[in-house]
Structures are given as C-alpha cells and as structure tokens.
Subunit: 427 residues, 3 copies
C-alpha cells in the first residue's frame, strides 16, 4: 500500500468518526470534533466567553443539546435528534408540551422541492425552537396531539477556535481557514477541516519554511469575526496570502473564488495552479454568497484571502440538507486537494523576484556550461524557461509573473532560476 492510499484512507477514517457528532457554533460537539482533528495536528485552543464583544458582534450563549424528539398520537417517536442531528433546529431553546398537529406544524421545517431531504436550519441569535423533517414524513404525520421533548441548555460558556501556527523565517504570514459548526453534513462541513488538518500535517513536514502559517478552524462567521477581533490588525500588516477551505470533498473540479482585491498573491498563486490544471472555474469575489472570506474580505480588513472549493455551496442540490452525506464524498479527491494546496504553498515559497545581472544582450551561456554546445532544431523546456527568465528577471517581475507570460510552470522556472543563480547570473 503506497503513501497515497494511506492518506485517503486516513481521511475517510476521520470522516467516519466525525460524522455523528452533533456540532454547533459552541458546545461539546465542536470541542469533541476539534479533539479528534487534534490527533492529526495539535490545534491550540483560543477561547472567547459568552458576552464578549467581538467587532460588531457579541459571543452568544453556549448551546448544549441533550435530547429532542416528538411522540406522535400513535406513540411513535419521530424527528429524533439522536438518530439524525439535523432534526433539531440549531440553538433550539428547551421545550416540553403537548401540541396539536396543526400547532406543531408551525415549528416544523421541510423542503417541499426535495421531499426526501431533511433541511439544515439554525436560529443562533433569536430564541426559538423547531424541528426539521422530510416533506414526505411531514405529509404523513397522523392527526392528533403530539408530545414535544426538547432538552437543551443555553448557558454562559465558551466559543472555541483551533489554531496551529508554523513559524517561518519571515514574519510574513499565510492563513488557511475552515469551519466546524455544521452537524452531520459532508461536503459543506467535514471536507473543509479534514483537508485543512492534513494540509497542516504536510506543511509541518516541510524541510524549511520561508513564511509563517496559521491554520485555523472556527465556527463559521462568529468564529472568524472573533478571530479577526483578536488578530485582524496584525493580519493586515503581515498576511500575504490566505485560503478559505470548504466544500472540497466531492468529485467535482476545483473552483477558485478570488479575494476582494482579485489580484493578490493568493489569487495569482491559485490561478496559476488552476491554469496548470487546465481548469477555468475561477470566479470573482462575491460578498453575498460565501463563508468566512466574507469577514476576511470585509472592506476594513480587505485581506488577501481566496477560497478553494470543489462544487461550492448553493451549486449542488444536496447543499444544507441531509442528502449532503458520505455518498457525495470522494476521499481520493480530498487527498488530491491536500496535494494541490501543498503545491500552491510550495509555489508561493518559491516565488522570488530575481534580477539578471547581465541585462545588456543575452549573457553568454556556453562559457558558463549552461548551454548545449551544438545548435539543434529542438529545444528543451528548461532552455526555453531560461530565456524567459533572462529577459523578464529585471527586478520587477516575480516568478508568477514570468509564469503568466511564458506559460511555463513555476516549478520549472524556479529550478532554472536556481541554476542561473548558482552560475552567478542572477542576483
């Protein structure tokens, strides 16, 4: 069994263990999930407390769900939270009582257009309770009185962020962010933190790092806002590139969503990679539909953070329903996502602005052993790359820029640039 197979099987194994945990933006499900991921890389905890002011927001109460279900007039248990944690509206307040079917229906959410799917619904900032079920089950509920049981707590507590910092030689930073607050959903939940954790493992294993890396796992929106309240000013100074990772678990091609500025180093590195993959799914920044990049790219911070995804939120029908489950997952594809992000980071590490010390005419390469002695009709990629480098390494173009012009991958350019540097031609 080769290294490759080892990784995707490890991803699947963690997926299966994380799947049943009832996560929310606070509470024991988030913590338990983060504990599991910490087996891969050691996430440090950053904690905020209920009532803390973070930017324009306030940390909400911690939510602890214990159990929730309905008993129908025939005594049958329905919408049982222990069977599928999507049945309970997230952050439901405690409730016990007997309701007629008519009254109960006001508190049941369904998706008439997807009759076999349970929707994913939350009510974080408005105290309420509710259940979710398939439209099929909803239509077959017998008339009569229902016993409603919701045992949850909303209490002063904590909101937790997981962070791994890998120091580099420069104080410039690269941020990788994902979220971990949705209950049992696959593409739009577990794929992100899984890819992030295994990417962090790969970057930990790099022999050297120029940049400092921050990998963070947050509860969506409130978590990135809390993180920015703490580190936003620092990131404005130091961040050169960042990626929001989510919806990266299915078998679709990658999608890259640009940062607000659109031409940051994050964008240039990701777009270069997409070009190498002959993948044209590059979309502009959109603040209306998105994840934590909406916070990172809010106008006050305007950070260089793009989003790497496969089939993105809102673009697949199973999104935010019980149908977003393991059947959609492609674990080899997640391994490929880890590799692709690792390559993007490699490329950023290799990106340098070189300056040719012999800019007047071409330097004579033959006398430096850099040129085949016989003229020939065909030419190798490395020779072609060398000419591009000699001409455009003028102290203004970085390797991404030369890759854009020449069409050669940055790995080829970096290898050849190092040769030119060793030969004393580059500075």
């Amino acid at each position: 069994m080769n290294q490759k197979k080892a990784l995707y099987k490890r991803i699947e194994n963690y997926f299966d263990r994380l799947w049943p945990i009832p996560r929310s933006i606070t509470g024991p499900g988030f913590i338990k999930s983060l504990d599991l991921l910490s087996e891969i890389v050691p996430f440090k905890r950053i904690e905020f407390h209920t009532g803390d002011k973070v930017l324009d927001w306030v940390i909400p109460k911690e939510w602890v769900p214990h159990r929730a279900y309905l008993i129908d007039p025939n005594g049958k248990k329905r919408a049982d939270f222990s069977k599928n944690n999507l049945h309970l509206v997230g952050y439901s307040v405690p409730f016990k009582g007997i309701l007629s079917l008519t009254d109960l229906k006001n508190n049941i959410n369904t998706l008439p257009d997807q009759p076999n799917a349970i929707p994913y619904i939350t009510s974080y900032y408005n105290e309420a309770w509710g259940f979710c079920m398939s439209f099929e089950e909803y239509n077959n509920l017998p008339e009569g009185d229902y016993e409603v049981v919701i045992e949850t707590e909303l209490k002063k507590g904590k909101l937790t962020i997981g962070e791994v910092v890998l120091e580099g030689t420069s104080d410039k930073e690269i941020l990788i962010s994902s979220y971990l607050c949705h209950p049992s959903m696959a593409n739009n939940e577990l794929s992100g933190p899984l890819v992030l954790s295994f990417l962090c493992e790969a970057i930990t294993n790099l022999s050297s790092r120029k940049y400092t890396y921050r990998f963070i796992i947050v509860p969506e929106t409130i978590g990135s806002i809390a993180y920015l309240s703490l580190r936003g000013d620092d990131l404005k100074k130091k961040l050169i590139a960042g990626y929001q990772i989510s919806c990266i678990g299915d078998n679709g091609p990658f999608t890259y969503k640009k940062s607000r500025e659109g031409d940051t180093l994050a964008d240039r590195a990701a777009i270069q990679m997409m070009r190498d993959l002959k993948n044209e799914n590059v979309i502009p920044f959109n603040p209306a539909v998105g994840s934590d990049e909406r916070q990172y790219c809010s106008p006050g911070f305007n950070l260089p953070v793009g989003s790497l995804m496969r089939t993105m939120y809102t673009k697949y029908p199973e999104y935010h329903t019980s149908l977003d489950n393991k059947k959609l997952m492609d674990f080899e594809g997640m391994e490929e996502a880890v590799e692709t992000l690792t390559s993007i980071i490699h490329n950023i590490e290799m990106n340098v602005i070189w300056e040719n010390k012999y800019p007047y005419g071409e330097p004579q390469l033959g006398k430096r052993g850099l040129f085949r002695s016989l003229s020939e009709k065909t030419r190798e990629d490395d020779e072609m790359a060398m000419w591009w480098l000699l001409n455009y390494a003028d102290g203004t173009n970085d390797l991404f820029s030369i890759a854009d012009r020449s069409g050669y991958p940055i790995t080829t350019l970096a290898r050849v640039a190092n040769k030119l540097n060793e030969a004393g031609i580059f500075d």
Copy 2:
C-alpha cells in the same frame, strides 16, 4: 383607459399636428412647431440674430418659404412644396423662369437606388435652389420647357432655441437635447422633440429633484453651436450627464452611443439601463456620423453627453427620405422611451456614494432587525443586495459601480441602502 394609453395617444396626436409643418433651421415652421410643443411644457425662447457670431459660425439668414412647384410642358404641376415639403431643397433662393428639361435636371435631386423616395436635401450655407423628387417621377418627366416657381425669402431674422429649466437642489446639471429643423420626416425628426417634451413633463412632475435639468430643442448643428456659445463654459463646470435624443420613434431596440469620454455618469447610467433591458446595442462615440453630440463632445467642450436612439440615422433605408414617415412610427415605443429616460434619470438621482460605518467584518444585522431569524436555503434579492452594499460601500463606489459588480438593479440597491442608512449602518 389607463395612464399608459393616454400618453401614447397624446404623442400620436402631437405627431399628426406637427407632421405637415415645413420646418427648417430658422423661419416660421420652426417657431410654429415649437409653439405646438409648448402646449406640453412651456419652452422659453432663446433668440439669436442673423449675422451673430457663434463660436466659429455665423447665424445665417432666416428662410421663409412661401410656395414652390414646377409646371411641366403638359401644364401639370409637379414637385409641389405644398403637397410635400421635401420637394424643395431647404434654403432654396427665390427663382422664377422657364427651363428646358435638360437644364432643369441639373437642379433636381433623386435617389436612383430608392426610386420611389423623395430625398431630403438642404443648402443652408451656399446660395442655390433645387427640387427633389422620386427617381420614378424624374424618369417620366416629359420633354419640353418647364415653368419653375420658387417663392422664398432669405432675410435678416432670427434663429430660435426652446429651453425648459427645472431647478434642483444642487447646481449640478443634466442636459436633454433634441432638434427640430427637418421638414416632414418621422423617426429622424419628430420622434426626438416629442420624446423630449413628454420626458420634460414627467420630470416636471417629480416630487423632488437633486439636479437641475435643461431640456433644449434646437435647429441641428447651428442651434447647438449657438447654445454652446452662450452656455458652453457654464456646462463645462456644471454638467454631470446629458443625452441627445433622436431617431427614437420606430419599433427597433434602443441604441446607446457613448459620449467622447465613454465612462461618464451619462454613460454609466445609460449602460446600466441597457444591461437591465438585456440590450447590447452600445456603440462607441463617433464624431463623423451623428447629431448635436458632435458639438457637445467637440474636444474643447468634451461634455458628458451620450445619445439614446432606437434605429439610428444611416442604419435604416428610409433615413433622410420621404419614406421616413408615420408608417415607421411606434407610439407605444415612444411612450416606453419616455419611461426609460425617466428611469435613467431616477437612477442618476438615486446614485450615491455610501460608506458603511462598520467595515470590520460584517455588522450583526440580526440585532438590528435587518436579517431573517432562521437560516434558510434560499435568499431574497434584497438580502443579496445588502451583502453587496455592506462590502462595497466603502466610500469609493457609487451605486452604479455596485450595480455593475453585483448585477442587481440600482433601484434594488438604492432601496436597501436606504434601509441600511435608517438603521444607522450607512453614513
């Protein structure tokens, strides 16, 4: 009968009354036509006198045509100005005499390629006389001597411009211009001043106006030059947008011709409207083929004036012939043109540069009652527009710019921006 039907029937009624009047760049036909349009809105007269110097031009003599016709060798009256005022070359000098057919033909204009059409010909600045007739009639003229009768006057007189000024609260101005100097032609004559007059009526009825509006009706070229000699310097300081209105009466889709600069507020507002209409007929400025925008966009003035048309000059075969007549007209389409221009003006009035006071992360909307309490899979346009506004209202983007990025109409953006302003989020 609803309001809509009322308007297009009013337009048709004025069209029918204006049609037979023999207009030129000066003289009683222009005045009589302007009097008729002044029943809709009260055009003030600005007068220039023969010999006045206006920029590089001189106001010509006033031309008063009384009658003109030919008597053929059989005693038949032909090319009778009283039957169709295109028969007489505009600004023909008086002439009476007997000419052989051969000699007469030197003074008859035809269109061999459109044998049933009478061409429209003028000779404003070169003293001459001539007739116009269909090539069919021309070919059937019997041999022999013709009596030529042209009773016209060329005398010291006036050139008149009609103007309505609607004051706004700002001293910034918007100009709407059309011309009224062609005799009996429909699309390339009456459509322009008719749409302009009813647009002026609509803007008069606006409950409030930020900008000052100038609606002017001029004789083409010499009229706009005369107007610029009077107000050009002032317009250079105050004009933020202007539209030349002509060829706007047929049933073709709108055409928008950009101003010389191409990205003025006039252009951005019109192009936004064209986009909302899914109409791609946006063409660049062209100084060689056009109307009074050639003067407004001359390099010394370089005013922000675009042109709104339907099927434009030179693009339809009936152009500048007797075939440009009521059969081509679509009066409901002219009503729609009035509405479209009114919308463009509304949008300019609504265009504001807002600044989000909470630019660090997204502001918490739930606590301000601006956000649905339950998360849901589908989102309304107003919510989407709100996210675009919160991100891009950074003090640099006006609503047209945010409309460009987001694809949402400026009406939606303005409505939502007002809500954010009322909630204290926008400044």
Copy 3:
C-alpha cells in the same frame, strides 16, 4: 516589363548568386555575400577582432573552411562540403584520419523524423567537428573504415557588420536589421538580407526623410551583440522604431512579433499595417524563440524593435534543414515585403500629433471650401476622416491613434490632415 516585374526578378537574381556561398558568422563567405549585396546599396563595414570583448561575449576566431568530405570503404566521396555546405558542422576544427563506421557515426548528425533532409548544425563556441547528412544516406552507409577530411582554419581574424546610414532631418532613428550567417538556406537566411537591401534602396530613393535610418546586416546573435556594444547606448536615446527582418521569403501571410514593450511606435505602425491587410498574425514578444530582437529587446536595452516575417522560424518543417531552399521561395512575395515595409516607414514618417485650433464645436467647413455645399445621404471617406481628425486632433492623439479609433488608414488621415492644415484649422 513594368517596375514591379523588374524588382522581383532582381531579387531572384541576387538570390541565385548568394545561394552557393558558404557563409558563417565570420570568414570569407560572409564577406563575399556582403560584397554582393553592396551592389544594391553601399554597405559600410564595421569590424571587430577575435578576442574583442562585446558586452558579456568575446569575438570568436575567424573560421575559414577549405574542403571537407568522407571517403567510404568503397572509395565513394560522401558528405562533400563543396556539393552542399550544410554537410559540415559550422566551425568544425580541422581533422584528418581513418575511422570505423561505428566511431564515425558519433560525429554524424541526422534528422530521423525528416529522413531526406540534411540538418543545419553549428558549434561556434565549443571546439568540435562533425558532418551532417540525410537519415536515408546515414542508414545506407556501408560498414568499414572511412577516411575523414576536414580542412578548415580557426584563426585570429575579424567579425564584420554591414551598415548603411540614411540621414534624416531629425536625430531620431529607425533601425532595420537582418542576419547573414547561415549557409545555403533560403527562407531562414537569404530572404532577410535581400528584403533589407532592396528596402534600403527604396528608402534611399525617398524624396525626403524626417528620421535617420540604419540598415544593418550582422552575423546572428554575436553580430547584434557586437553592434549593441558599439551603438546600444546611443540607440536607447534615439531609436523610435526598429524591425528585425527574417524568414520573409515564402508565400505565407506576414507574421508580426511585437517588441518587448508591445506598444511602441514600431508595434503601432506594424499592427496598423497588419490591420489594413486584414491579417491577424500578431504575436507577443517571446525571448525564447527568436533572432536578434532577443538582443535588442534584452531588458537592459529594451529597444522598440519588432520582427516582420512570413512563415517564421520553427513554424515550417523545412526550417534549419537542406529543404529550406529555393522551392519555398516566392520572389513576388519578397517584392511585396519590400513594399509593405516601405509603407510602414511612410506611415511612420507621416505620423504627426496635430492640434485643431477650433476645438469648441465643429469649425464651419463650408466657408473654407472644405465641405460639399449640398447635404447628401452618402458621405465620402475623406469627409468621414475629416470629422475624426477634427474631434481627436486635440494635441494628445497621433495619427496612428486616430487610425485605431476611426478605422481609416493613416494615408487617408494624413492626406486630410494636410488639407486641414493648409486651411489654417490645424496647427
């Protein structure tokens, strides 16, 4: 016989005389070829000496080939330099000896993919010897011992550049460059210096010249580097446009390769010409595949030099083989290349930034006799061009810029601009 026929027949005659001469980057073949071309225009010699340092390079020894061939085991002479000068690797050192077929094959170059072609190979900067032959002949060489005869000299000597300077009234310069160092090849050798020489003849015959013209014929790479070592700093100050001429002899459409900057006067003039020819073969600068423009456009000099070609190097299979011969040549096409380059130069000479002295509104043209007296439905190109000029001749746009906007050829614009200048409207 008209003038046209005279020119292409002269080109063919020189082609036939130049063909058999064994050229290299130095030596008697280059000199003899330059002598022949000097019958057309008097090329002055610029000489460098073996060992001279030129930029990062050193002038190599002069190479004088006397004879070279193989005697096969049957006594048959093969790879005879006197029959086809491609048989000997350029700059081969002297060698005499007996080699087995196996050993000899290490020094024989072939093209297995083009079995009937002799490849073109050189070894300028690495002392070696070798033969070239068709893969077919190579495969049929009989086993046994071969006599190898290479009588060449590598000695202290000269490297020569031919130059014609045509003085103009301005000190701004235009450079035309081609190379003359390949032995018997047609498109990628003789077409360039032939077109250059006849172009020089045409420009010599111009009645007046605003710019100073330098026509140079160099040995490729080392020659342009040597020339830049001498005149590079001066060219940086004075050169406004330049063209590298090569591969311009076949019957393909023109190809224009832009300069490094891409929007210099050289580029604008050539692209305008390509547009007039409805030819879209305009390609970006590429420092990896090219000729002497690689030196002119090295980042230190960054000169405004583009390349005009027909079917360019590497894009035709006969490139750098014995199949690049007279069969590929189109001598009428070379005459057309001379005419096209002459037109480009005419256009550059005519390119002026005019300023309309009457920028406020259109000037009245009728009173200056510049406008037809009767309005008419159709308009001539010259009238259209006049409107474009009046509007855009605002002191910032040159004629190439107005040609871009209007679509009218620069010849039309220049003719009309002169009329406007004579009428006192332009300055």
